[in-house]
């Protein structure tokens, strides 16, 4: 049998029971005292609370403080049953407990008030690190350790009573740290440190004014607090310090209120005298050199409002025009540079053009006279008149403002319009000595020395010559007795009119063409009878007027082919004079070629003489002679146009017993086959 566990053995159970009995007895006698973790506080209070003056007097009545978990009450509830004064404080937010334990928050009493630590142990043990001191309105964040590195104790500031605090306590410590500063500080802000300081140094050294609504910039940063926060004794006083410029700088207003009280609109905290006024916001924006002008130069006498805006108010003494051009200087002058006036002359009766635009005003408007300055050219250019007044004083009629030298005189308006090369001639070439009026207009006045005709044709050069090209004279020969036609038209005048002689120049051909006469005078000297001015070689002789009219192909023959050696008269009219009798004829047909032949062509020849054999033999009619007579007329053959050939003819004739069949005509005189009966050996047809 297994042994039971020792704790379940008889002795074990007995021991357990005995223990429980003993404990029960102890509890019965002393209550919960056996469970106490330590003696209760025995300090006697001033008043009797809950029937006792100290916790120790409660003894073993643990339930006086310790509520049963199922009771619904807390230990704090039990505390307040006796400590009714604390219960009242909880309802008073100005009291310590009222601040520490505001309504709605549950902080148990034992969080601060401990017990069972012994009869003389403090009832309140507050961990400075855990005690929410800030709820009192003063945080201990900056009061963790002293200058010596020791932890702050509650008594260090509150003394024996932590519910009390004397403001002078602050000064007592801080004067030890910096007595001079504290003295000045307290004189400035008073002795109630808590009126401004909240323990987290909100308004101490870590205070950053720039995080507030009024950042300290420029010279404001170097001011002492009291410089602006006059007589401030609390945070409310500090925060109530005025923020507008005029509150502090009214006495600095050099404008006497003329520009309002918003000094910051122009002035900065960096430097009061250096105001940056945006003139662009006014009716007189500053431009050009106006921007660099000191304010006082215009706004004299510190007067800013109502300062005149017209130029003359400041620049009257600068008016070089002595008021001639009015007082609106801006019409010409700009603020960038007074000297650089930009007068729009185009708005005047004398717009500046060409080189007039680059002329200094004073060159024309002498002595500063602008109004009434003469507008005619001669007023300025009289000395430039090369014409000595011959052409009047209206220089602009010829000259332009672009270039004086380049006058553009419209000669067309004169009685002598310039044409051709005359247009490029310098005026002085014709108008010598500066004489323009009355200059001769005839050609000879200028071109007498150019007259190659030595006056033969008068002095009206223009009759032949043009202003385009002197050399190219255009003489109308058609007006003469010798109109120029054909190639005569392209001949240089001098080729005919040699020696510069034009009048009386011979008009006959031979005068010029004698050396060209290939006929050596045979046909007289009237070359024009055959030759034309179009082409000398192409003579057009009417052969029909001769005893030998040219017909047929004779018409296309070159003259020299017949008239050899340049002989035209007496040329033979016999055909044989040009045409040899061909061997074909064998001299049988005589010398009258035209009996058979025509000038249209040697072939086809037309033979009208009697022929031993019908020439029209055959279906095609008359055949050319060479068809039967291929070589000469002395012989003939029938084979060239017959379909049969010598071998077949021989064979056929031999069949017929004909042996002599060479002379076909002998048997066939007319070319018929049936004519051969009885001839040459016979045979049936």
């Amino acid at each position: 049998m297994r042994k039971r566990l020792g704790c379940l053995s008889t002795s074990g159970l007995a021991a357990a029971l005995l223990t429980l009995l003993v404990l029960a007895g102890v509890i019965g006698l002393w209550g919960g005292a056996p469970f106490s973790p330590g003696p209760l506080n025995a300090q006697v209070g001033q008043a009797e609370l809950g029937g006792v003056r100290s916790h120790d007097a409660i003894g073993g009545q643990c339930s006086a403080c310790h509520a049963a978990p199922w009771s619904g009450e807390t230990m704090s509830d039990r505390c307040l049953l006796c400590h009714v004064d604390i219960a009242s404080q909880l309802l008073d937010p100005s009291s310590l407990h009222g601040v520490l334990m505001p309504a709605g928050e549950s902080i148990e009493c034992y969080a601060c008030h401990t017990e069972h630590q012994g009869p003389e142990a403090p009832m309140t043990v507050v961990d400075p690190d855990r005690f929410p001191h800030e709820v009192t309105g003063y945080s201990l964040q900056a009061h963790r350790q002293t200058e010596e590195g020791l932890d702050f104790a509650c008594a260090g500031c509150h003394g024996a009573d932590i519910t009390r605090f004397e403001p002078a306590t602050c000064g007592a410590c801080h004067r030890d740290l910096d007595a001079a500063y504290m003295q000045g500080h307290q004189e400035t802000f008073g002795m109630d440190c808590l009126a401004c300081h909240d323990g987290i140094d909100t308004y101490g050294q870590a205070f950053d004014h720039n995080q507030q609504e009024f950042p300290l910039e420029g010279q404001h940063a170097s001011l002492s607090c009291a410089g602006c926060h006059l007589a401030a004794r609390s945070l409310a006083d500090l925060q109530a310090a005025p923020r507008d410029c005029y509150a502090c700088h009214a006495e600095d207003d050099a404008h006497d209120g003329q520009l309002g009280q918003d000094c910051a609109g122009c002035h900065t905290t960096e430097d009061w005298p250096q105001a940056t006024f945006d003139h662009a916001q006014t009716a007189f924006p500053l431009t050009g050199r106006h921007t660099g002008v000191d304010c006082r130069d215009c706004h004299t006498g510190a007067a800013f409002q109502g300062t005149p805006q017209d130029c003359y108010a400041c620049h009257a003494e600068d008016d070089a025009h002595d008021g001639q051009l009015g007082q609106d200087c801006a019409g010409c002058h700009i603020t960038e540079d007074w000297q650089q006036a930009t007068f729009d002359h185009a708005q005047t009766a004398f717009p500046l053009t060409g080189r007039h635009t680059a002329v200094d005003c004073r060159d024309c408007h002498i002595d500063r006279t602008f109004q009434g300055t003469p507008q005619d050219c001669y007023a300025c250019h009289a000395e430039d008149d090369a014409h000595d007044g011959q052409l009047g004083q209206d220089c602009a009629g010829c000259h332009t403002t672009q270039d004086w030298q380049q006058a553009t005189f419209d000669h067309a308006q004169t009685a002598f319009p310039l044409t051709g090369q005359h247009t490029s001639v310098d005026c002085r070439d014709c108008h010598t000595d500066g004489v323009f009026q009355g200059t001769p207009q005839d050609c000879y006045a200028c071109h007498a020395e150019d007259d190659a005709h030595e006056g033969q044709y008068g002095q009206d050069c223009a009759g032949c010559h043009t202003t385009e090209d002197w050399q190219q004279a255009t003489f109308d020969h058609a007006q003469t007795a010798f109109p120029l036609t054909g190639r005569h038209a392209g001949v240089d005048c001098r080729d005919c009119h040699t020696g510069g002689v034009f009048q009386g120049t011979p008009q006959d051909c031979y005068a010029c063409h004698a050396e060209d006469d290939a006929h050596e005078g045979q046909y007289g000297q009237d070359c024009a009878g055959c030759h034309t001015t179009e082409d000398w070689q192409q003579a057009t002789f009417d052969h029909a007027q001769t005893a030998f009219p040219l017909t047929g192909r004779h018409t296309g023959v070159n003259c020299r082919d017949c008239h050899t050696g340049g002989v035209f008269q007496g040329t033979s009219r016999d055909c044989r004079g040009c045409h040899e009798d061909p061997v074909f004829h064998l001299g049988l047909l005589g010398v009258e070629c035209d009996t058979c032949h025509t000038t249209d062509g040697w072939t086809p020849a037309r033979y009208d003489r009697p022929h031993t054999f019908p020439i029209s033999h055959g279906e095609s009619g008359p055949s050319p002679c060479r068809t039967c007579h291929p070589d000469t007329l002395a012989a003939y053959t029938c084979y060239d146009c017959h379909e049969h050939n010598p071998a077949e003819i021989e064979s056929e004739h031999r069949k017929e017993g004909i042996s002599d069949f060479e002379d076909c005509v002998r048997c066939h005189p007319t070319g018929r086959e049936d004519e051969a009966e009885g001839e040459g050996g016979g045979g049936d047809d």
Partner: protein, 274 residues
């Protein structure tokens, strides 16, 4: 580290670690951690759980015949470990205040711990197998005979060495068990230390070669002495162990009963405190 006291070393190491942690907490809090604080409370809970394990697990294991629960010797070592570390943690949990029932529980705990130490000392006087089963006299005498045979064998094999260390093999005067089995049980450690001290002195005078041969002899002699002591004190050891049980167990029950009451009160007055 001796294998036979391994649990003691483990317990010592754990207690050192716990102590260091405790000191660290003290340094951080700049005060002794209260019993009801988080750290103090944790010490108490963990320590008590270890004590419960000490109280129950080994006893349950002793009554189990199944080998699958592990060797008894292992459970005993675990029992000793938890029996030392647990109470130490509870001691730290007290925040060195010994008021009321909590203080009484602390005293009881210390008594039970020391009782346990004594009980272990007595327990080891009873020869047991590795499974914790007591060895009977007959078995002991057989083991003694076997050891003495090995001793004789050794002496025969090394006659010169045997002669050189014959003095070390003699019994110390006044070290016989006699009727004072109680003294033998309680004083066996001192006796053994006396033998070992003599052996150490003698070994210093031995030649190096003989000293090297004598190591086996030392082991045999120790074994012989242990067996003889066990035989001599077997009855006394058993009686003492039984007596110890009769004291230790009730005191332990009282301890745990009071501890549970203390825990109940702590829960009532502290844990559930609002």
């Amino acid at each position: 580290m001796r294998r036979r006291s391994r649990e003691l070393w483990y317990a010592l190491g754990a207690m050192v670690v716990i102590t260091l942690v405790y000191l660290g907490v003290v340094a951080r809090l700049e005060a002794v951690p209260g019993a009801s604080d988080l750290f103090g409370h944790t010490l108490g809970i963990v320590g008590f759980l270890l004590m419960l394990m000490t109280e129950t697990l080994y006893s349950v294991r002793k009554r189990s015949r199944s080998a699958r629960w592990g060797r008894m010797a292992s459970w005993l070592r675990f029992h000793i470990f938890t029996g030392l570390v647990g109470p130490y943690m509870v001691l730290l949990h007290t925040s060195w205040k010994f008021n009321g029932l909590a203080g009484a529980v602390t005293v009881l705990m210390i008594v039970v711990v020391f009782s346990g130490i004594i009980g272990r000392y007595i327990y080891t006087a009873v020869p047991r197998t590795a499974d914790g089963i007591e060895i009977e006299r007959g078995d002991l005498e057989q083991q003694i005979a076997a050891v003495e045979a090995e001793l004789e064998k050794w002496r025969t094999a090394r006659p010169e060495a045997a002669r050189a260390i014959a003095h070390s093999m003699e019994e110390l005067p006044g070290m016989t068990g006699g009727d004072s089995g109680l003294l033998l049980v309680l004083g066996r450690a001192f006796q053994e230390w006396g033998y070992r001290l003599r052996w150490w002195r003698d070994a210093r005078r031995m030649d190096a070669s003989i000293r090297a041969q004598a190591r086996d002899l030392d082991r045999l002699l120790r074994r012989q002495r242990a067996l003889r002591r066990q035989v001599s004190s077997l009855a006394a050891a058993r009686r003492m162990l039984a007596t110890w049980h009769a004291v230790h167990i009730p005191v332990g029950v009282v301890l745990f009963t009071a501890a549970f009451v203390h825990i109940g009160a702590a829960i009532y007055y502290a844990t559930l405190l609002r």
